[in-house]
């Protein structure tokens, strides 16, 4: 389809406009991080670097950041394993209940967070009788992160087909060897993309986390929620948000690069 130049220009303009609107609130956040107002008043009455300095020295923020990273890494790891297992099972074979399993994987993310949150909270406290803490948060996050890995891997498996694996088996490689040397390399970029999305989901999650966290465990979103309450802390929250966005360029670009390299040519 050859698009006429006006059509291309219009599309480009729309894209630019939407991206501008998308980044507008982020620019407001950036401005707030330099604002002298402690209460996020707009427009900023003055500029200061004080909040940036304080943010990097804020023990509470750094601890919360570390906790969030730990939880996200653990949840992503679990999701990677479980997601790969499920997609391998679903893609390669048809079996009774396949649709049901597919639905089950999607359910944690398809149902609203508050439903998942109160269900898990109720289950942890009364049925399983475990103390709420980091472990319960990781379990909760892993559960709804499975789907991002599942989808990416499933799409990749569908694209690559079973030829190489069958060839490998014919040549005498065992199941594990085939997986290690043939399947896994094909899946790598899909795993990275899925894992990155899972990490982002877990990192920023607030609703389910509120219900599955215990005393003394503060993830970054919870810390932000706590500190938006407090006088004098709001601008520090803005600083943290800006830093996160800027840092995120790196993993996203890497994911793009890896994903792009293996992309099937059009």
């Amino acid at each position: 389809m050859r698009l006429s130049t006006p059509a291309r220009v219009i599309l480009g303009a729309v894209t630019a406009l939407v991206l501008a609107v998308v980044y507008l609130p982020l620019l407001v956040v950036l401005a707030n991080s330099f604002s002298t107002s402690r209460n996020l008043a707009w427009p900023p009455p003055g500029l200061t670097l004080e909040w940036w300095g304080r943010a990097f020295r804020s023990q509470g923020a750094l601890d919360a950041l570390l906790t969030s990273v730990q939880i996200a890494l653990a949840a992503t790891a679990v999701a990677l394993v479980l997601g790969t297992l499920i997609s391998l099972a679903l893609q390669r074979q048809a079996f009774f209940g396949r649709d049901a399993v597919s639905l089950l994987v999607i359910l944690p993310i398809a149902l609203p967070g508050i439903v998942t949150g109160i269900a898990l909270n109720n289950a942890f406290r009364t049925i399983l009788d475990v103390r709420l803490g980091i472990a319960t948060i990781i379990v909760a996050h892993a559960t709804f992160c499975i789907v991002t890995v599942f989808n990416n891997v499933l799409a990749r498996l569908r694209r690559t087909g079973t030829n190489l694996e069958e060839a490998s088996a014919d040549l005498g490689a065992g199941v594990w060897t085939t997986f290690r040397l043939v399947t896994f390399p094909q899946l790598r970029s899909a795993l990275f993309a899925g894992g990155l999305l899972a990490f982002a989901l877990s990192f920023d999650e607030i609703i389910v986390t509120t219900f599955t966290t215990g005393s003394g465990v503060t993830t970054l979103p919870i810390w932000i929620l706590d500190n938006l309450f407090r006088p004098n802390q709001a601008p520090i929250v803005s600083v943290i948000a800006v830093v996160l966005v800027v840092i995120s360029i790196l993993p996203i670009s890497i994911a793009q690069r890896i994903g792009g390299a293996e992309q099937v040519t059009k």
């Binding site: 107002s37 402690r38 209460n39 996020l40 008043a41 707009w42 009455p45 304080r54 020295r57 804020s58 023990q59 509470g60 601890d63 009774f96 209940g97 109720n122 289950a123 406290r125 009364t126 049925i127 103390r131 709420l132 215990g214 005393s215 003394g216 929620l225 706590d226 500190n227 938006l228 309450f229 407090r230 006088p231 004098n232 802390q233 709001a234």
Partner: protein, 390 residues
């Protein structure tokens, strides 16, 4: 391998139902919480740790602002390592206490009696707390921190719900709550109110003055008719409400930008507004207020450290630091030696305080002593509040 696939779905379904039934029977069982336990007779050795649940800003250990720290001194003195969790609303506090994870909770009056009724907190032996003597008498043994003459906690600071208004927009200066009730249409879309079922008591305070026939003696003791009247008043108010607030940063912002021009507020909000065009007043009809109580969990793992904390936070200097940071009047009389803003908070002003109806949990046994009717309890208030918001 020959499977009768027709049987499988039924088998699986049966298995599913059975397992769910089994697990449900095990689950959601009533946890122990029966009976609040006994108060300690004497203190033993401190256990080396204590877990505290409180409003943000009550338990500061320097991790948010290195200059704001009254926890480290406590940890050094007693050896009790403090872990703390903050909550956003009294209701959240109530749910969190059910987990049994916390030794100490700072509960506002709208949660304290519920905690006592649920058996989540134990009576406090005030003889074991030397600093208790230094606390203002008008805060001790009140309806929200004691039951049948038994104390359930130590008072921590107090504040009043005031009427705040934008001096540029609202003229003349209001002196009555009518501006947010009957007269709220003047400022339609810019009126604000506290987002909690306990706000119904504020409507009741207004009705006490404007509809004395209803016979309301205590705004927390409302029977069905009185509650219905309060709900009607609030539903009318709802039409002119711009937004409700539950976190005070929200209200500060709203007043600074001009999205709200009149409504209920806390002194700390007035102090934090930087645009200089707001003022507060305690209206003629009186108002509600809040006095938080430090309470001890009934199954506290570290009771001795818990008592140590209660004593410490009631000591003049710590009390001054904590209440000054949050923006409320201190509970310890000597705390004003460490603060220079006691005037603004009317600390120790018993007359000021007597115009205030401190947050108390509505319960079925009428708090005003009536025995011929059943009063509405907090769950009825919550249902009513949801309906008011619509």
């Amino acid at each position: 391998m020959n499977h009768n696939t027709a049987r499988r779905p039924a088998l699986l379904a049966g298995l599913a139902i059975a397992s769910v039934a089994l697990l449900s029977a095990c689950g959601t069982s009533a946890p122990s919480g029966s009976g609040g336990g006994e108060a300690l007779d004497e203190l033993g050795d401190t256990e080396g740790a204590v877990s505290i649940l409180a409003w943000p800003g009550y338990v500061e250990d320097g991790s948010n602002d290195p200059d704001v720290d009254w926890v480290s001194a406590f940890e050094d003195d007693t050896g009790c390592e403090v872990t703390s969790k903050t909550y956003g609303t009294s209701d959240e506090a109530f749910s969190l206490m059910k987990t049994g994870d916390y030794d100490v909770v700072a509960a506002s009056g709208d949660a304290s009696l519920r905690l006592v009724a649920a058996g989540d907190v134990a009576p406090v032996n005030t003889d074991l707390i030397p600093n208790y003597d230094g606390i203002y008498d008008f805060l001790k043994m009140q309806s929200w921190n004691s039951v049948d003459g038994v104390s359930y906690g130590i008072p921590h600071g107090y504040g009043v719900n005031l009427l705040m208004y934008n001096t540029d927009v609202v003229t003349p200066a209001p002196t009555s709550w009518s501006v947010v009730f009957d007269g709220s249409s003047t400022y339609a879309g810019k009126v604000t109110a506290y987002d909690s079922p306990i706000y119904i008591a504020d409507a009741a305070v207004y009705l006490m003055a404007t509809q004395p026939d209803l016979g309301i003696e205590n705004p927390y003791a409302l029977d069905e008719t009185q509650l219905a009247a309060a709900v009607d008043l609030l539903k009318q108010q709802r039409e002119n409400i711009g937004e409700y607030w539950s976190d005070y940063l929200k209200e500060i912002q709203a007043f600074e930008s001009g999205d709200s021009v009149i409504g209920t507020t806390w002194q700390v909000i007035q102090n934090s507004v930087t645009t200089g065009n707001t003022a507060v007043v305690l209206p003629d009809e009186g108002s509600t207020g809040w006095s938080d109580t430090w309470m001890i969990a009934s199954e506290a793992e570290h009771p001795n450290c818990a008592y140590a904390w209660l004593d410490y936070i009631a000591s003049p200097e710590a009390n001054a630091q904590a209440t000054a940071f949050f923006g409320e009047a201190p509970s310890n009389q000597a705390a004003c030696d460490f603060r220079d803003d006691c005037e603004a908070y009317h600390a120790g002003d018993e007359e000021y305080a007597s115009q205030v109806w401190y947050w108390s949990t509505p319960i079925a046994d009428c708090l005003d002593g009536r025995t011929d009717v059943t009063c509405t309890d907090y769950s009825a208030w919550t249902t009513a509040w949801s309906e008011i918001k619509g």
